[in-house]
């Protein structure tokens, strides 16, 4: 296995640092600070303590027996990131970066958010560490995720509605980067996914890889073997990279990333970056991008605000091109159906993002032998989505 990324932040041809010169020194400083602290015992002690005692790790690896029987195929295990403090995997990375920011002497943090999960996680750690926090969120998403806006305010953060461009995650990222360019002197940018310029894709992956490390250890304990398949939803791709990474070297394990097909990959309303995009430079790195012929980035669509993004992390692009991982699309309708299925079969309401991973598992599990094992990253809980999905399910709810 070649170690990726290289010193330029390259995963094969992907990754890199395509940002305005104003940010270059900040990124170099960040890389240097990260390299200094990532193996520092004191830093790791503090992080591990907070992950355990504050965030509630390790998250359980739960055998979904009723779902397994219902589908009649592979055994399905759920990695319960939804049980973390703040309700998703985002807290893992937010804690890691906030502790790094503290060591770098930064008192102000900023973040972008789509569904609000990363925003809430960042607002939470900012409160915990006494930092000033601003979260940039597309105006469209502030409407879809009102509850999360309120949660962030409650935690003492300011939510800045972004009215430029598509008014969703893509432009929230642009606006956060623009704000960072203007305030790079005293502000740390807690980027929420394995996207953006180096070192973010590497660093966020490293902070999230605990998901896969735990899952592997837990499954070895429970089943005495590795899984056959690991499934995770991908928007930017942080929970997927987190659960995949420790399995990348285990060649028997199939890695499947599930992207949002919105109303269908043959419509113009989807966020299926791997299925329909091509390589390009977007928001600081080279990866697959949904774009038109001339290189203008296209608007993505997904019922899930967290997957509603026309880019994807560069390491995923690398895993796709080296054929180490597969990427498949799941529509809004399939995700909604999976959300209801898991709610009724297991008493777990998954986030719309995670519902995409469940939906693919619903298709996949029955095709696999009963003694095979699928581990699904249940990246977040669905409480935040309940209000947003009510109109869709209005006709069907009893």
């Amino acid at each position: 296995m070649i170690q990726v990324p290289d010193t330029y932040g390259r995963f094969g041809p992907f990754g890199g640092r395509y940002v305005p010169e104003t940010l270059m020194n900040a990124l170099l400083e960040l890389e240097e600070a990260y390299n200094r602290y990532k193996d520092d015992p004191e830093f790791l002690d503090e992080l591990n303590y907070l992950l355990a005692q504050y965030a509630g790790r390790p998250s359980p690896l739960y055998y979904a027996e009723r779902l397994t029987k219902h589908l009649g195929g592979a055994k399905i295990y759920l990695k319960r990131e939804d049980l973390n403090h703040t309700g998703s995997h985002k807290i893992n990375n937010a804690l890691g970066q906030a502790l790094l920011a503290k060591r770098m002497g930064k008192k102000k943090v900023i973040a972008e958010t789509g569904a609000g999960q990363h925003g809430v996680a960042t607002a939470t750690v900012a409160a915990l560490l006494g930092m000033e926090c601003k979260v940039f969120m597309g105006e469209e998403d502030t409407k879809r995720q009102k509850l999360n806006v309120f949660r962030m305010n409650l935690l003492g953060s300011e939510v800045v509605p972004v009215t430029s461009g598509t008014r969703t995650l893509k432009d929230a990222c642009n606006e956060t980067l623009r704000y960072w360019v203007s305030h790079v002197d005293d502000t740390y940018y807690i980027l929420g996914s394995v996207t953006g310029p180096h070192p973010y894709p590497m660093m966020v992956r490293d902070f999230q890889r605990i998901i896969g490390v735990e899952a592997k250890e837990q499954l070895l304990k429970q089943e005495g073997r590795l899984p056959d398949v690991v499934v995770a939803a991908v928007g930017g791709g942080s929970n997927a990279m987190g659960i995949f990474h420790d399995f990348v070297g285990d060649e028997s394990v199939r890695l499947i990333g599930v992207e949002a097909a919105g109303r269908g990959v043959d419509t113009d309303k989807h966020a299926a970056t791997m299925t329909k995009g091509r390589p390009g430079v977007f928001q600081g790195s080279m990866s697959y991008v949904l774009q038109d012929e001339g290189g203008q980035v296209q608007e993505a669509h997904s019922i899930s605000a967290g997957l509603d993004y026309p880019g994807i992390g560069p390491e995923h692009a690398y895993l796709k091109d080296t054929k180490r991982a597969e990427y498949v699309p799941i529509t809004d309708a399939e995700a909604l159906e999976a959300l209801q299925l898991l709610s009724r079969q297991e008493g777990i309401i998954p986030a719309l993002e995670s519902s995409h991973a469940i939906a693919h598992t619903v298709k996949l599990a029955p095709t696999l032998p009963k003694d095979s094992i699928v581990v699904v990253s249940l990246s977040g809980r669905g409480d935040k989505d309940v209000e947003a999905i009510m109109p869709y399910l209005g006709g069907e709810s009893q």
Partner: protein, 280 residues
Amino acid sequence: MSTATANAIDTVFAELKAKGETALIPFLTMGDPDLNVSVELVQAAEAAGASMIELGVPYSDPLADGPVIQRASERALRQPIKLTDCMAVASEARRRGVRMPFILFTYFNPALQLGLERFFSLLQEHGFSGVIIPDLPLEEDAETRAIAERTGIHLIPLVAPTSEARVERIASKARGFVYCVSSLGVTGVRATFHEGIDSFLATVRRAASVPICVGFGISSREQAERFAGQCDGVIVGSAIVRKVEEALPQLTAEDETVHRAGVEAVQAFIADLKPRAKRA
């Protein structure tokens, strides 16, 4: 294919230096409100005393730009507009008699999608002398720089007040001029500049063997003149694009007289930006 003839940007700076003048470099977003008007505004800019001009390619994700240029990009992108359409504004303006050098300002992805070889050969074809790519820092520009050198198109780099030790490396490789970002932040009109701006410019001056120009936030002749003694040119973007925005009702008018009045209003604004004399 090597180009032995002098690059027009170098020639213009040499002429200005001989006269003791500071270059005025306006920026216009192509296709705002449409490509025909863009050609007229390029002509107007030269008539107003511009020494060279940046033609901005509208982009869906203009990371380095503030609200004014973001809005201009959004307006331009309401119609399908390709990178090559923006380049054609230069060749059409040249056909109509414009003589100043053209510099294309584009984010990297549109150029990458066109293919870098083709991108540079089209720049030559349409009569460009330089290109500015705001999201292509030194670490990522090896391939682009090599093609630029080979085709004789100047790849003009940006340096920022935060560049510090990088200034030396960037300035020493610069072609055409070094674009000094006057303040932290995105493009846009501002009242104040980075507090260390003067020593920053002095640092760039020491490191550069090519002219240095200041941009980001310059919106008036007073501000242009403030920098005139410390640099070889001033770049004005958002202030002009905002003027275009104000003149949109006229610029989009069917009536020829009203339309001309719009173009002339922008021309008068640019003319008024020109620094009177180099102080130093």
